[in-house]
Amino acid sequence: MADKLFVKDHDVVIPGEELAEGLDYLPAGKAFRDGDKIFASTIGLASVKGRVIKIIPLAGKYMPRRGDVVIGEVTGIGHSGWMLDVNSPYPADLNIGEASSEYIDLNKTDMTYYFDIGDYVLCEVINISEGKFIKLTAKYRPYRKLKGGNIIEVSPTKIPRIIGKAGSMIALMKDATGCEITVGQNGLVWISGQADKQAVVARVIKFIEREAHKQGLTDKVKEMLRGK
């Protein structure tokens, strides 16, 4: 039986669309195999790299994975930790033992000294329980409370474009504005620096999010940064 490929690289695909036939191709990400055919399970751009067919989703909520670096907003304080909103459908918890490498005496310390409600914390996903409860850690560098700056929300599916190849897009923005930029895998971006420069970075990131599926993005971003 001849193997057939029905899509090209960068084609827009819709859920249920047949991508390929035959056992030579391998589904990855949001593509799945049914019998000897490969289908798409979400709307996105097809990516064909050799024998691997993948879909880069155009939209979607953040789904936590172990090892992800995320930015969370503190929404609650409990007996032995903090509740964080990591822009995901599932709750996240930062235990007191994971908050600092030093010993925290709960009888003597006010927990808001470390993280208060409304603070943003850069942390790492260490575990996701069966009930989809997210466990975080902020014990080691560079995990910390993000002081000052600005937080913007972008679609988590666009994060790779914002970072660029080996961080090239981020470096471009950092060099042009002198701002510090931290990107969480969950779609929150923290920008710190001069307030008006922060606004420029925020606008450029929103632009990248909007135009993420188009080609020649780096040149457009360069132009935008030069104009400001």
Binding site: G118, D119, Y120, L146, G148, G149, N150, I151, A195, D196, Q198, A199, A202, R203
Partner: protein, 258 residues
Amino acid sequence: MKVIRNYLAELLKMQKREDGREPFQCREVSIETGVIARSPGSARVKIGDTEVLVGVKLDVGEPFPDTPNEGVLIINAELIPLASPDFETGPPKPEAIELARVTDRGIREGHAIDVEKLCIKKGEKVWMVNIDVYPMNDDGNLIDASALGAIAALKTAVFPKYDESADKVEYKEFTKTKLPVKALPIMTTFGKLAGSLFLDPTHREEKAFDSRLSISTLDDGTVCAMQKGGFGTFTKDEVLQIMGLAIQKSKELRKLLK
């Protein structure tokens, strides 16, 4: 939220906004009228990413006993989940009631419609003007968008055919007679964040600001309605400054209606 608030405050101190606007610059406004074919008057207003759809419906009914020779004006607003993840279905929340009432107050107290001309038979039959406001997308400042949509829809609205002997309104047939609109009240909303004033707050600014003041003004500079929101306060000088700016900014918006 406090992180964003501090950032916005710092920007405002530099006379700047997140989206590159000046403090007293409105976002891009566009008005489309006659967007609903079945409605005698409708408008779609966009202020930046905020979008509101407004429809006018005309009916014949009985007037209120204390105003037997005046038509009836009813404005209703609904914050549907389509517009924002913050809105939920169910009975209207205070925000939805406020939006409807503030829009209503601007139109009513600005005497936008000559209500006496809506009278068909004194004490028995008058035209009832229903204005329905539906936000399609909330990126802040729904009040201005709704007020602008309501007046734009009213301005283009026509009466449906009315058979007086049979007392029946033919809703699908429109006459060429326009509604007696005699004034164009325009609402402008100002926010205050950490002591700085600004016009046309976005959704993020609305979440972070201390207070807001909406002012409705007429062509001749008359202030006809006001609404203050949020927990913060305004000084007398600030209110006067906002009033001056409201008159000036509403002139620019009124040009879009013509």
